[in-house]
């Protein structure tokens, strides 16, 4: 089984991201593998263990994004490819999907592509379905469990309406959610292997693509309005007295 896990590098969620002098900054906070994409790597590794095969981590990003790919290698991915090109700085999700599609086709013979549900930075959640559409493969989104048998995949999709069981032919595109299981920590051996790995870098020319033009363009960034919350602690002699005082306050706010 040949599996690809698509990952992105993003600022850690603890990071204080803000706009400063017209730029988005996050101070000294580290860049990490997008947390949702850890589930994608975990899902890919589970399938590799069940059926043997390889897991390739794939990322579009700057040179520094190699660190996120190394994390995937340390978790157990067999190899990693970085797609990096100055012309890819301002791509939208369709652009990313187009580039990932070309890379998946170049790799060839792929059975499953695993995505995260969403990125923390741009957070559109569109890239997986757009890649599936370009590839012409079935899209199985929000997957929490995967079984593969005779070239067919059965998944459990974790939806608001319940857990939906869906079957499709391989190759297929999946996006993976938390129910797949806690992403494994990199092992000591994994970290050593990852630190020595050389990660190939593909450019647009390597993929035979010209620079994509983004239909969706950012024209302004800003900090959200600050909200001054001073918490008023409600006290009282008994739970009943506290509850009554709190209900009074809530009703006065006219939110009900």
């Amino acid at each position: 089984m040949k599996i690809i896990a698509c990952i992105k590098q993003v600022p850690d969620s603890e990071a204080k991201v803000k706009v400063e002098n017209g730029q988005i900054t996050w101070g000294e906070s580290p860049l990490v593998i997008n947390p949702f994409d850890e589930y994608a790597v975990e899902g890919a590794l589970q399938q590799k263990e069940a059926h043997s095969g390889t897991v390739t981590a794939l990322c579009i990003g700057p040179e520094s994004a190699k660190e996120a790919l190394k994390y995937a290698l340390a978790m157990g991915a067999d190899d990693a490819i970085l797609i990096s090109d100055p012309a890819l700085e301002d791509i939208d999700s369709i652009g990313a999907a187009r580039v990932l599609t070309a890379a998946i086709q170049k790799i060839g013979g792929v059975d499953m592509v695993m995505f995260g549900r969403q990125t923390l930075d741009n957070g559109t959640g569109l890239t997986p379905a757009q890649t599936a559409r370009f590839l012409g493969w079935p899209m199985l989104g929000w997957v929490g469990r995967i079984t593969v048998e005779d070239g067919r995949v059965t998944v459990e999709r974790v939806l608001e309406e319940g857990r939906q069981i869906v079957k499709a032919k391989l190759p297929a595109v999946l996006s993976i959610v938390q129910s797949i299981g806690e992403p494994r920590y990199p092992s000591f051996m994994g970290i050593r292997r990852a630190s020595k790995a050389t990660i190939p870098v593909w450019t647009l020319a390597d993929l035979g693509l010209s620079a994509p033009t983004a239909a969706v363009k950012r024209v302004e960034i800003m900090n959200p309005p600050v909200r001054e919350t001073v918490c008023q602690i409600i006290t009282g002699d008994t739970p009943e007295a506290i509850a009554e005082a709190l209900v009074e306050k809530i009703l006065a706010e006219k939110v009900l």
């Binding site: 923390l120 569109l126 069981i165 032919k169 938390q178 709190l246 209900v247």
Partner: protein, 329 residues
């Protein structure tokens, strides 16, 4: 500006923020609503009553259960022959896929989680949160049609006008599904956190009631019954922290936060939740936040408007009683 609104539903149950999209569409121009599915006449009626001026219906047995490919192919075929400028949708798991694929077909663009729209002549500017709401961006889309997926509860829901109707256009389905829905392993009562105006959430603290003398999970489930009772009194939904979900106290569909749902109800009551950043990014835009926690140092209090330092197993039952009394239930 030719505006379409896609009415998102699951087996006939409409995502209420579809009506918010209709309301927004009406502020630009007359609106055509799109209803896809099988046996969807009641939805067509509802679309008119919420303000649609015209409805395009695609009614086909193969569209009974939503699947990305046939819905997307049907939508892009319609859009390429009718050339709308804007296609408004609520942001849901389904519409992310649908708009993503249709935009590929039409070589256009999608904006998700849109919280504001400004129209200046030909230029339409969309505001959406990025970096988990830590930054806002304004974006434009140079291609047409623009798929605009709205964040729930960001635009007012129009009033329903009983009996209002209009012209119906029937269109063909493109049936090209690439998957088979084999069924549902669990059908949880649908948890509609995104649209809820009140959410009462429980965290790991919900399992901490030694007085019950039960094991941890049974205690937590009792605790969530209590949370559910408060939610019911307020006509709200039940949310949860990831710690509660991971421990198996309640299903993932209830999870609020970075890897769960982002919500912005009018009232959010956090019970036994510490307030980790990954939880806060999912609920801090709620209008009024109330926290109940034993630990006065819990970071949730820094986000809350009102707080109670105490045992939720004492406070929540008292709150249920007090609300029942005041709301006349």
């Amino acid at each position: 500006m030719k505006t379409w609104v896609y009415i998102d539903h699951f087996k006939g149950e409409v995502q209420p923020s579809s009506w918010e999209a209709l309301g927004l569409g009406k502020t630009f121009d007359s609106v055509t609503a799109l209803v896809f599915g099988s046996g969807v006449e009641t939805l067509v009626k509802a679309a008119f009553e919420y303000g649609a001026d015209e409805v395009i219906v695609v009614d086909h047995p193969e569209l009974g259960d939503y699947r990305a490919e046939p819905y997307a192919s049907t939508l892009s075929a319609l859009a390429s022959s009718h050339t709308p400028d804007l296609i408004l949708l609520p942001t849901t798991a389904r519409t992310r896929e649908l708009s993503a694929m249709a935009a590929v077909d039409l070589n256009s663009g999608v904006l998700t989680d849109v919280t504001a729209v400004e129209v200046n002549g030909d230029q339409i500017v969309f505001t959406r949160p990025i970096y988990e709401g830590k930054v806002l961006e304004k974006t434009i889309c140079t291609a047409r049609p623009i798929f605009v997926a709205l964040r729930a509860r960001s635009f007012p829901k129009p009033p329903r006008q009983e009996g209002r109707s209009g012209p119906v256009i029937r269109a063909e389905a493109k049936v090209d599904a690439q998957s088979i829905i084999a069924g549902y392993s669990t059908t949880e009562a649908s948890v509609n956190l995104g649209d809820a105006s009140v959410i009462v959430s429980g965290g790991r603290g919900v399992s901490n009631n030694p007085a019950l003398g039960l094991d941890e999970k049974a205690t937590a489930q009792k605790g969530f019954e209590l949370i559910g009772e408060l939610a019911a009194v307020l006509g709200g939904a039940v949310g949860a922290s990831r710690a509660a979900v991971d421990a198996g106290y309640i299903s993932y569909a209830h999870q609020v936060g970075q890897t769960g749902k982002v919500v912005s109800p009018d009232l959010y009551i956090a019970c036994g939740i510490s307030g980790a950043i990954q939880h806060l990014v999912g609920m801090r835009n709620s209008k009024l936040i109330v926290a109940i926690n034993k630990d006065p140092e819990a970071p949730i209090f820094q986000q809350a408007h009102y707080g109670v330092v105490g045992d939720l197993f004492q406070i929540v039952p008292a709150l249920i009683a007090a609300f029942k009394k005041r709301l006349g239930k």
